[in-house]
Amino acid sequence: MKLEIKNLSYCYDGRPILNNISFSLQSGDMLALLGPNGTGKTTLFKVILGLLKAEKGEILVDGKDMRTMSRAEIAGLIGYVPQNHIPPFAFKVVDVILMGRTAHLKPFASPSDKDLEVVRQVMDILEISYLKDKVYTEISGGERQLVLIARALAQQPKFLIMDEPTSNLDFGNQMKVLKHIKRLSREGLAILISTHHPDHALQYANKVALLHNTRLQHIGCPEEMITEENLSRLYGIDVRIAEAFVARKQPVKVCLSL
């Protein structure tokens, strides 16, 4: 399936936040969105999800305009993993993931055993079955991130939008979450992910987009996009890219600021 963003613009209080953004995403793609704090990465995601109304432009899924779709239809196509948060009420992990099934329920229905089965499967995939009866507000940040990914997977979407899924995680949890995400994209999900780590984009993504000054500056394959010049301009610091040789494997590129 294909998600196309065409000439998208968004203003807040008359101030342009996103300007003429176009790109597309296909099954199996993993597109990493890089950009400094406050450039509108989250805003872009919310506009794509229809949570914010675009000023101009189109969002098409296999050629169909998303504005004609209901909330439930959109949620059946696109799963959303928001930035980490703590809800006011202490739900059990299994119930949080079950909420992902809402898009597939009738308006007045509660989830059935069939929905519970889907939840069991996604918990298996992400290896978090042991969290099932734990309280969502009391688990660690890394676990909570995996639960939010599981909830998005329970929507059984074709596209997955993830807002900085590795921020707030320790080194080990970052890698764990990224491995899971990589596997999901290999299995055919189209993933749009924002990150503050160019290294992660180099290592895991097959497309990279740079968002800067309301515009999508460049989009292309990671090696072409993540260059010393581009990153230095994007973040306003001097960035160097080094090659690290680990054992006999291929050299790995690493971004550094000296």
Partner: protein
């Protein structure tokens, strides 16, 4: 949720139901005219079979004309206030919200005060309270929708509700100030304190349909209420039409609150306290929280009402009692519950 937890949940509901039934039976026997359980059971059986019970007529009057309506009133009011409080706490993502947060009670109070000063009949007072309760919430909702452009809809709704509430309480004060101090003023003051003593079977019958509609709607959307507590954007991303859901909650909670307030007057604290107690017992899942809040609320209000007419030499309006019990009980809950149900 596995089979075992489902079973314990059913047992809990059954237990709470039996508890309520026991309190109701106790309430039938208790009072200044005390009646034995045997007398009560034979009266009820005979009434159902339509035969003469052979008990004194006074006893029959006390049971069927006074105690049964009052008990039904307490059950209905307790359930209605608790369930709407629970639903509001979910959609406003705030555990300190009660069902009158957006003006339902003050609107009712104004309607009743106006009807009293205009010398309306009891039915007229009830009708005015109901209509103005709905009217106040409707005004709040429309104004909030009008002034909210892209902001947080729940915050605007609460703020507008407070303003409408303040406006109506000023109107109430104005009416009290102008009211005849020997006849009308005590009547208004008494109505505002809330009481179950005057509830009769016609009152119950007249609110049965709107109250049932409110209960059924909230019961049907109980799963989606869970999702609303994650906030509007997340709920929308999960496929919930949040605007419509919020409208359903406001509509059904207001129907429930307006119905019971119109026959009892303003009874505070139940709608705030009981959902918390329920959440401490069964957690935040609305699939269980809705029925448990209903049953706990009914039992609580019925028990308070029954004890008050047993113990105290004169009848104190129940609205005063629920506040006297509610405030310290709430402090206890706050101290007890740490972070699990408050944020």
């Amino acid at each position: 949720m596995n089979k075992k937890t489902k079973l314990t949940e059913k047992m809990l509901i059954l237990f709470l139901f039996l508890l309520l039934a026991a309190i109701a039976l106790f309430a039938l026997t208790a009072g200044r005219y005390s009646i034995s359980v045997q007398d009560i059971s034979s009266l009820i059986v005979c009434k159902l079979l339509g035969v003469e019970s052979g008990r004194p007529a006074v006893m029959e009057t006390v049971v069927f004309e006074i105690r049964v309506p009052r008990i039904l009133g307490a059950i209905l009011t307790g359930a209605a206030l608790s369930v709407s409080g629970a639903a509001y706490q979910g959609i406003f993502k705030n555990p300190l919200v009660s069902p009158d947060i957006i003006g339902a009670s003050t609107g009712a109070g104004f309607g009743a005060a106006l009807a009293i000063i205009l010398s309306f009949s009891a039915a007229g007072i009830q009708g005015m309270a109901f209509v103005f309760s709905l009217g106040a919430v409707f005004a709040t909702y429309m104004i909030a929708m009008k002034i909210n452009r892209g902001g947080d809809p729940t915050l605007v709704l609460i703020l507008t509700g407070m303003l409408i509430g303040t406006l109506f309480s000023s109107f109430i004060s104005l009416i009290k100030f102008m009211a005849d101090p020997y006849e009308k003023l005590p009547a208004i003051t008494f109505w505002l304190m809330g009481s179950l003593s005057a509830v009769n079977i016609h009152d119950i019958r007249s609110i049965l349909i709107p109250a049932a509609a409110g209960f059924i709607l909230l019961f049907l959307i109980r799963w989606r209420l869970n999702i609303m507590s994650f906030g509007d954007e997340e709920a929308q991303a999960l496929g919930v039409n949040t605007g419509r859901l919020r409208l359903i909650v406001v509509f059904s909670s207001t129907l429930l609150t307006a119905s019971v307030v119109s026959i009892t007057g303003i009874i505070g604290w139940v709608g705030l306290l009981i959902p918390h107690l329920a959440r401490m017992m069964v957690g935040p899942d609305y699939r269980l929280l809705i029925p448990v809040s209903m049953l706990l609320g009914s039992s609580f209000l019925l028990l308070v009402d029954t004890l008050s007419r047993m113990i105290l030499p004169m009848e104190i309006p129940i609205g005063i009692l629920t506040s006297i019990i509610g405030a310290p009980a709430f402090i206890y809950l706050l101290a007890k519950s740490k972070r699990r149900s408050f944020s």
